[in-house]
Structure formats: C-alpha cells, structure tokens
Symmetry: C2
Subunit: 196 residues, 2 copies
DNA sequence: CGCGACGTTGATTTGCCTCAACGATTGTGG
DNA sequence: CCACAATCGTTGAGGCAAATCAACGTCGCG
C-alpha cells in the first residue's frame, strides 16, 4: 500500500507541481496520527489549530444540538481534508465534533506550520485555493438541495454523487447528513425500491 | 464617494499588500459595469466566465426549481464577491440566475484575465484563498442551521449576522434565503414581535 | 450468551406549505 | 394629478412532509 505522505503528495501534485525539497519540507511538518473507531479527533469548545488529511478510513464532523442530537456536516474518506474551518479561520471555539467512523489514519498539520509552508512553498496557496473552490461549489449544491428538494430527491442526489460511500456508512449517518431522521430515510428507501 | 477600483484595492489590501504596478494591472483587467434593478447579470444554462465584485447596490443568486420558484443562494452588497462557483470552476452550464435587486455597479473580471493576474501577482492567490475560507466558514454555519434549527431560529440568526440588510431587502427575499415561504416568515415575525 | 448498535414499521403530532383573499404601498402611463 | 396595475406583506383554513414516540427483529461483538 502507498505511503501516507506519498498519498498527500500525489493529491497535491494533481493540482500544482512540487519539488523534492518541497516534499521534504512538507513531510517534516505533517504528522501521521491514528484514530480508533469512535475516537474523537476534536471536540466542541476547542479552538481548532489543526487540519486533517485522511489517508485511510473515515472521519465525520457534526454539530450536536441542544437536545443532544447529532447533525452531520461532512464525511471525509481517503484523500479528503476535514476540519472546522469556522474555528480554524476565526480562532473561535468550535461548535463541531470530529470523530472516527472507522479506524483511520490522518496526516495533521498545525496552523503555524501551515502558514510557514505557504511562505516557503507558494504553490500551496494555489493548491488550497483550488481545493476550497471545489468545496464551495459542492456545498453550494447542498444548500440548493436543502432549500428546494424533498428528502427523497436529496437522497438520490447523494447516492449519485457519493454512492461509493453507501454500504461503508451506517444508514442513519446518511440520514443525518441529509437532514432527516433515520426512520424517515428508511421509509423513503422502502418507497423507492418497492417497484424496482 | 470612493472610486470603484479604490474600493476593490482597499478590500484586497485588507488581506495582502499591493504595489502601484499591481494596482495598474488589476485596473486594466477589471471592467466597471452597471445593472439596473431587475436586470439579469447571468442566466441558468450559461457557462460562467465572470467574477463579480459589488461596488454599489445589491445582487442575488438563486436557483429556480421545476415549478418556477426561486430559492436564494446568496445576496451580495458592497464589497462582496458573487458568481456561480460551480459553473465557474467546473465550466459546466450554470444552474443559477444572478440579478440585481437594486441599481448596482460591479467590477467584473473574466477567468482568463484572473488566471493571468494570479501568475503576475501571486499574493492574489492568498487573497482569494482567504476570501474563500471565510465563505466556507459562513456557509458551514448555514448548513448547520438548515439541518438543526427551526425557521424562527434561523431567522434570528440571520438578523444577528446580516441585520444591516433588513429594510434593504424585501422580506420575501429573506424568506427565500431562509428556505421558507413568505407567508410563513410573516407568521414567524408576528409571533416573535408580539411580546416586545 | 447477552448487550448495544442498527434498521424497520406503524400511530400520532407538528412545522411548514398551499391556496385564496385582502389592505397598503409603489410606480407608471394617460 | 389621478387611475390602475404591480409588488409586497398579512391573515386564515386546510393539507402534507417529516418528526416524534414506541415497539420489535437482527446482527455483530465483547
């Protein structure tokens, strides 16, 4: 299996070029960390200083409401970045939890090192700009769906876009991501697959 | 009143420094365009090549569903950027309309010029990265609200964050942004302000 | 084995929508 | 300057999508 750092380099170089010395510098700033299933990567209230790049496994970020119910903001599997950007950017206490849905390996970099990397390796600015533009485009779709589509359509859209995650994720996590109860998603599925 | 380009420069230099020659180059790429109230900036189906920086007035982007109903993705007043990132990034036909809610002045730059500017003025990469990080942080909040809060709370949150837009925007536009019908928002307001 | 996590099903409730009607305000042309 | 049409906000009656609550079956795992 590929080395963790090689996965990161491959992902970056799909967008911008890196020299060998760039890679060495990056390697020295990113730490490989392992999380067991159900383990927390970060909790509500903390001020986020870390970005996570998933090498293997699956993380999720979620908001816990006043009644204790979880609402999934995003999942992150191999080659995805995940953190609480709101807390990371504004350095305010996080409202989100991040935890592991599977045993997971991540590469972590802290804010200060990341800033230093931007200075030393300017193409990383572009890499990050491109990644974020893509994220914004995707999240824009999600907002539109939440505003204008019933749950059944949102579910079909999710399958079409992230179908490879079905079977890997528990169904009630998908329900939470879609903004419905597990019972209702079950109901939707029954109706959808009745006539096939 | 401030010159349009000066507004743009001021916004950029709040994040990164610009030299005078940088400014000249930028000035040569951005065109000042005026839109009358109700005029379209962009329509569904087009492949977006343009970014808009609002100098004066107010634009909105929205999705029109299969029944013809509009769902507001965002508003943009002075010093905001607006475009359809999904179409802009992936160069696919846009699903969004953008139009003017007031008589509006915008500075426009096309993709090719913007790419050229990134090459010639690398700090713009950082500027854009920072702008997008902020957008992502904000939109993340909106998703959380849509998933976990009833409409009344979302409305209060909107007022707290964008209160300065109330009175400037028609109420039914805010309803659309929040994902409820105008009638229901009216209802919410009645209940909220009954006891004050 | 036994317990907790997961999915399903059904009965009831509720947040929000639909549709229709009605003032108030704005603006536009005669 | 008035008449008329849009546009906008409000109110109310009835309806639907999705939530809540509760019970039950299955599976994987310590």
């Amino acid at each position: 299996m590929a080395d963790a750092y090689e996965m990161l380099f491959r992902h970056i170089t799909e967008h911008v070029p890196l020299t060998d010395t760039d890679k060495e510098l990056i390697r020295s700033c990113y730490k490989l960390v392992h999380y067991r299933k159900r383990q927390y990567v970060q909790k509500e209230g903390e001020i986020v200083r870390i970005s996570n790049f998933v090498v293997k496994g699956c993380l999720r970020s979620y908001y816990r409401d006043e009644n204790g119910f979880a609402h999934v903001l995003m999942f992150a599997v191999e080659n995805w970045w995940i953190s609480d950007l709101d807390s990371y950017v504004y350095q305010t206490p996080s409202q989100l939890f991040i935890d592991a849905l599977e045993d997971t390996d991540v590469l972590q970099v802290c804010r200060e090192d990341q800033e230093m990397l931007y200075e030393k390796i300017p193409v990383l600015e572009r890499y990050n700009r491109l990644i974020m533009a893509r994220s914004l485009a995707n999240i824009q779709h999600r907002i539109i769906g939440n505003l204008s589509k019933p749950a059944a359509e949102r579910y079909l859209f999710f399958r079409q876009k992230y179908g490879f995650l079905e079977g890997r994720l528990p169904q009630h996590q998908i329900a939470s991501y879609l903004g419905v109860t597990p019972e209702f998603l079950s109901n939707i599925r029954k109706k959808l697959f009745k006539k096939t």
